[in-house]
Symmetry: C2
Subunit: 209 residues, 2 copies
């Protein structure tokens, strides 16, 4: 018979886990990803480094789980504030352009949050070099957010606001791709006005109507 961990030990390990995530996020901002070590994360979190190695194979894996946990925390807090389980969907006011602009602006604000810029950038860079981390990053962090656009665009397509032949999974990249590139590679300013223009161009096209 499998033994269930006592509630106390479960709480303790939950606390260690959060302490490890916080340490990893702080340290990557302070020293940069290249100089981040499992030893330093363990020291900052007040746990033995074996505790970290038992749960994660690499510093990239710790960072990925730290971000997944941040997402989980944020959605729990939002649900608590709302008093019920929130549905994570893009708003549907019937005005597709306004709904997309709203979410695009919020995404831009989030990407520019200085608290998460360094660690999120480090994770994205690690995912580019390390295919395993990259695949998990895309599957667990990126794609679920993109699927919200897929659902909103399908609704719009049914309502006749998106052309019937358009593939929603590709269409959403007309704005998410440029935003990702400006953020990842710093190819230009990432502003609300820029986000608005992308949505307008994507919906109406750059050729004259």
């Amino acid at each position: 018979m499998a033994t269930k961990p006592a509630p106390d030990s479960k709480r303790r390990s939950e606390r260690s886990r959060r302490a490890i995530y916080d340490a990893a996020l702080e340290l990557v901002s302070e020293v940069g990803y290249a100089k981040l070590t499992i030893e330093a994360i363990a020291a900052r979190a007040g746990v033995g480094k074996q505790t970290i190695y038992r749960w994660w194979p690499s510093k990239g894996a710790v960072l990925l789980d730290a971000f997944l946990d941040l997402g989980k925390q944020a959605s729990e807090e939002a649900s608590t504030a709302a008093g019920h389980e929130l549905e994570h969907e893009i708003p549907d006011t019937g005005d597709l352009e306004a709904d997309l602009k709203y979410v695009v602006r919020a995404t831009i604000d989030e990407l520019k949050n200085p608290k998460y810029d360094a660690p999120y950038r480090a994770l994205a860079a690690e995912g580019m070099l390390n295919e395993e981390i990259g695949a998990e990053y895309v599957e667990k962090l990126l794609e679920p957010g993109l699927q919200l656009y897929v659902r909103r665009l399908r609704i719009a397509r049914e309502a006749g606001q998106v052309a019937p032949e358009v593939d929603p999974r590709i269409a959403l990249e007309l704005w998410t791709g440029p935003i990702a590139q400006r953020w990842l590679q710093r190819t230009g300013p990432l502003t609300h006005e820029y986000g608005d223009k992308l949505v307008e161009y994507a919906l109406h096209g750059i050729a004259p109507r």
Copy 2:
């Protein structure tokens, strides 16, 4: 009075430089960027590591110059083959959609060239973490290519094929952004069909006309 290097020594240093670039590009494919060292590049290129440190401050800087040199070599070869200095412009057949698709397909083929995939990806990742390398990467490698689109879109705008209010520098990101993201983050297949769709959506919009 400054002394001019003798032609012989200039040729020798040119040869060392190319040997260093080749070594850096090969090694990053073989061992990965994280394990790439200046020592290993020097050994493979048959030069002392001080020679490398005299010219470059870091392995990322070597890799960036190796790519700039590849671009220079490719354009010299193309000019020699053509028998005259080539202008690097996007074709202008009068059919904007066809011209864009042609260049987008060629870009996709280039990004998928296995010879350059690992080093180019390493350089992009390094540029995300190291702002100095990133700024040079964007200014010298990325932006000159994007400016070709700006010029082609301006011509199209003058010809009435692009709406007058459209900003060409943003419009081009409707296809270059998604392609960069699929390539950098492996978020989906990077095919000619995909590139064609991006160009179609960008020109005509995803809302019904």
